[in-house]
């Protein structure tokens, strides 16, 4: 039977990751995971999740064929999702998935091939977006974010960054819905860091429920105190995401509401630029954001 439902093939490749963004995807509430995996994600459209290491039934050679098939027979017709960094040290020896021609297929080779042939790529999580924690100084694995990696190899496939450690599942499903309904986001719908403005356009500090404390000069001196968390290290003033309005885990809670300073996990340069995480932004630390 010919299907009337338009499908979008998706290849979700985990490079050097903790799988946290895959798990966050499983936490998606609306749409829920069933909707994403099985149903039409929006009427008339469904995702054909060809490859996803955490949930797919298959393994071994048959799933490596899926990867080859996607890059060759669906050239320019699939969305590549990359989770994790691309570890480039030691010629890519620090990360491989599967084999090619009897040798480990390094993440470097796989992401190059899949990225080169994709319609567009979504970098999910801060590692894939900007390098994140695995690229923290001294970056022993030579980890790179997806866009930097592709550009360094002259690959111009559009990349949309959906950072967060982990990403909020709504940021992913919302971006996919945008692509299905309206096509790829235009340049003016992304910020300088390649993030959709609809999710990453507002500053945490400006929308923080503890902002009135800041304005009134009432500051927490230690974890657990009432007041603005600026002095215990909050990075809300230099971080952009809609966490205050959205909340994580089906809108249950988020960092500052749980008494923790924001660590700026959606920002390029996380964690180094934002560290120490529990010490206040000094002038010298703030300068990192404006001088680089």
């Amino acid at each position: 039977m010919e299907s009337t439902v338009k499908e979008i093939p998706v290849v979700w490749y985990q490079a050097a990751s903790c799988s946290g963004d895959s798990v966050s995807l499983l936490n998606s509430a609306s749409p829920n995971v069933r909707n994403i995996l099985i149903d039409e994600i929006i009427p008339g459209h469904h995702i054909n999740l060809l490859f996803q290491m955490t949930v797919m039934a298959g393994q071994g050679e048959p799933v490596m064929e899926i990867l080859r098939d996607a890059a060759e027979t669906r050239k320019g017709g699939y969305l590549l999702v990359v989770e994790g960094t691309i570890p480039t040290a030691a010629n890519g020896a620090m990360g491989s998935v599967g084999e090619k021609g009897g040798k480990p297929l390094t993440m470097v080779e796989a992401v190059d091939h899949l990225g080169r042939n994709a319609l567009a790529a979504l970098a999910v999580g801060t590692c894939a977006s900007f390098g994140g924690i695995f690229a923290a100084e001294p970056n022993p694995s030579g980890s790179m974010g997806l866009a930097d990696f592709l550009r360094s190899r002259g690959i111009q496939t559009p990349v949309i960054n959906i950072p967060g450690c982990p990403m909020h599942p709504d940021w992913f499903t919302g971006t996919v819905a945008h692509i299905l309904l309206f096509g790829l986001p235009r340049a003016d719908q992304l910020d300088d860091a390649g993030r959709p403005l609809s999710f990453f356009g507002s500053q945490i500090h400006e929308n923080c429920p503890r902002r009135p404390f800041f304005d009134a000069g009432k500051f927490a001196k230690k974890i657990g105190d009432e007041g603005c968390l600026y002095l215990v290290g909050c990075k809300g003033p230099v971080s952009y995401a809609d966490c205050p309005a959205r909340g994580f885990n089906n809108h249950t809670n988020w960092c500052i509401q749980a008494g923790s300073p924001c660590h700026g996990c959606t920002e390029p340069g996380f964690p180094d630029k934002l560290s120490p995480l529990y010490q206040k932004l000094t002038e010298e630390r703030l300068a990192r954001f404006f001088l680089s």
Binding site: M53, A57, G58, G102, P104, P138, A258, P276
Partner: protein, 516 residues
């Protein structure tokens, strides 16, 4: 000799590879390799110790909570506040950890392991009115199959009704594990990678409405565990009875224990709801973190890295000739030990823990099996399900003893110089963190994680790791569909994506085979 590759192995966390030498359908040799290096120990050096409990959670997105707790206990010790963590702090840490056990165990059985036993396509001709099953049928009608096909074929034994029931539970399990994460987020901000656990306690105290929301969410998860998860494990056990003998492994077990019932600074004295211990050659004794030593002969690290974790080094050597893994080989008193739900169950059962014995004996009598059957693929699944049942109850109890308005975090100072360790069991087993502080900065941070115990390569004496030993002797019926090996490997719930390589001593198979 011939090499057959099953590469990569899906439905595990991270990246791992396994090679076995098979002769006449029986595994003769096995080697397990971690294929990913990220270098936590290296990039933690020089940082503010407080940052450790946030950064180390990124070791694993499936079980971050345990790294947060181990790191916080490590820092508690280094900061000298172990016994000052307030009542609320201790209990909230316990319930964050317990709730992540629930989500991890449910995730493991249904999302990661079940597809090796359950045929979801049995829902193709479903005619009932269950919304989830109708959705599965429509999905299959559409001709769609990814990500549920392709798969290994040939050994799906459940009846149509059983397959349909487990297919329904598979979809429900997705919701239940997300609900468990919501319950954690109430106290810890978000999951994965919580922000709630800090040195001295937690970042926020309890309120009556949070306690209510928590126990309500956990009630639904508990109902699922008791009415679906445990019965489904029994269904699989009855249909695949030989897996009560397959995958026995090393029969030495190690657990640090989990869920502090007091705050004694001496780990040997501290009481934990899941008791720690070590079983070597059938004899139970208290577990001593000082008896852990890591070997690196077969790991891509310089020889200087072979040490006790408290003095451990991590210096990569990707060209090292005899190495085949990014994992080191931790050994307890020189011996390879299995860690995880089965290890904890064996230790508690041997110690005479009443609750553990009651649950385990009930399950064994249901299956008309002897305790020896626990040491197997099915035993690991059963141990996990029993833990989930017990922790569902305890998590509720711990939530209801919280005291709104009372302290939840002890103040602490980062010392100029100090050291500590945090040894505690996560869903996948014994986890140890070791820290050394100099000039108020991290001078050394070492982790020995559960999967490193289970998936470790051979040590300097050539003794294979626990998973390697479990694979040796396994029978493989069809080298093209070596589902037997996948079932053994997944029963450990490895926190690494695996690629399994079969070296077949005799047959030359087309497609997946090649000569090495």
């Amino acid at each position: 000799m011939q090499k057959i590759a099953i590469d990569p192995m899906s439905r595990v966390e991270g990246h791992l590879k396994i090679e076995t030498v098979v002769d006449q359908g029986v595994v003769k040799e096995a080697s397990v390799s971690g294929t990913m290096f990220r270098g936590f120990e290296i990039f933690l050096k020089g940082r503010d110790p407080w940052d450790a409990q946030r950064l180390v959670q990124r070791v694993c997105g499936v079980c971050p909570a345990i790294h947060g707790v181990a790191a916080a206990q490590n820092l508690d010790a280094a900061f000298g506040v172990t016994n000052l963590v307030p009542h609320n702090g201790r209990h909230i840490r316990n319930l964050i950890l317990a709730t992540n056990y629930l989500q991890s165990h449910i995730l493991h059985f249904y999302v990661l392991a079940a597809l090796d036993f359950v045929d979801l396509t049995a829902a193709a001709d479903y005619t009932g009115d269950d919304a989830d099953l109708k959705a599965v049928r429509q999905f299959l009608d559409r001709g769609a199959a990814a990500p549920f096909l392709p798969r290994y074929e040939g050994d799906y034994r459940l009846t149509r009704e059983q397959n349909v029931r487990l297919a329904r539970h598979y979809v429900q399990a997705l919701r239940m594990r997300a609900l468990a994460h919501e319950a954690i987020a109430l106290f810890a901000g978000k999951m994965p990678h919580d922000v709630g656990v800090v040195p001295g306690g937690v970042t926020a105290g309890p309120t009556a409405d949070k306690m209510l929301a928590y126990v309500t969410k956990i009630r639904a998860v508990r109902e699922f565990i008791e009415n679906a998860y445990l019965p489904d494990v029994l269904t699989v056990a009855r249909a695949y009875p030989e897996y009560a003998e397959i995958g026995k492994g090393v029969e030495n077990y190690l657990a640090w224990g989990a869920f502090d019932e007091d705050l004694h600074v001496d780990l040997a004295v501290r009481q934990r709801y899941f008791p720690g211990g070590v079983i070597l050659d059938g004899k139970l004794s208290p577990a001593d973190p000082h008896k852990v030593f890591e070997y690196v002969k077969h790991s891509w690290y310089t020889e200087e890295c072979a040490r006790a974790p408290a003095q451990g080094e991590t210096a990569p050597a990707p060209e090292k000739p005899e190495a085949y893994s990014w994992l080191k080989s931790p050994r307890y008193a020189g011996t390879a030990c299995e860690v995880g739900p089965l290890a904890r169950t064996m230790i508690a059962y041997t110690a005479g823990n009443r609750e553990c014995r009651t649950e385990v004996n009930a399950l064994l009598s249901e299956l008309k099996a002897k305790p020896e059957a626990l040491k197997s693929v099915l035993g690991r699944h059963a141990a996990r399900a029993i833990e989930a049942k017990r922790l569902g109850k305890m998590a509720t109890d711990w939530a209801l003893v919280l005291k709104p308005g009372e302290p939840f975090c002890a103040q602490s100072q980062v010392p100029e110089k100090g050291a500590g360790f945090g040894c505690v069991d996560g869903p996948r087993g014994a986890l140890g963190h070791w820290i050394e502080i100099e000039n108020k900065k991290i001078a050394r941070y070492q982790l020995v994680v559960p999967t490193t115990w289970n998936s470790s390569p051979k040590d300097d004496r050539g003794l294979p790791g626990p998973m390697e030993q479990a694979l040796i002797g396994a029978k493989v019926k069809d080298a093209k569909n070596p589902v037997e090996l996948a079932r053994i490997v997944r029963s450990y719930d490895p926190c690494l994506a695996c690629s399994v390589h079969l070296l077949d001593a005799r047959r030359n198979l087309t497609g997946v085979a090649r000569i090495v």
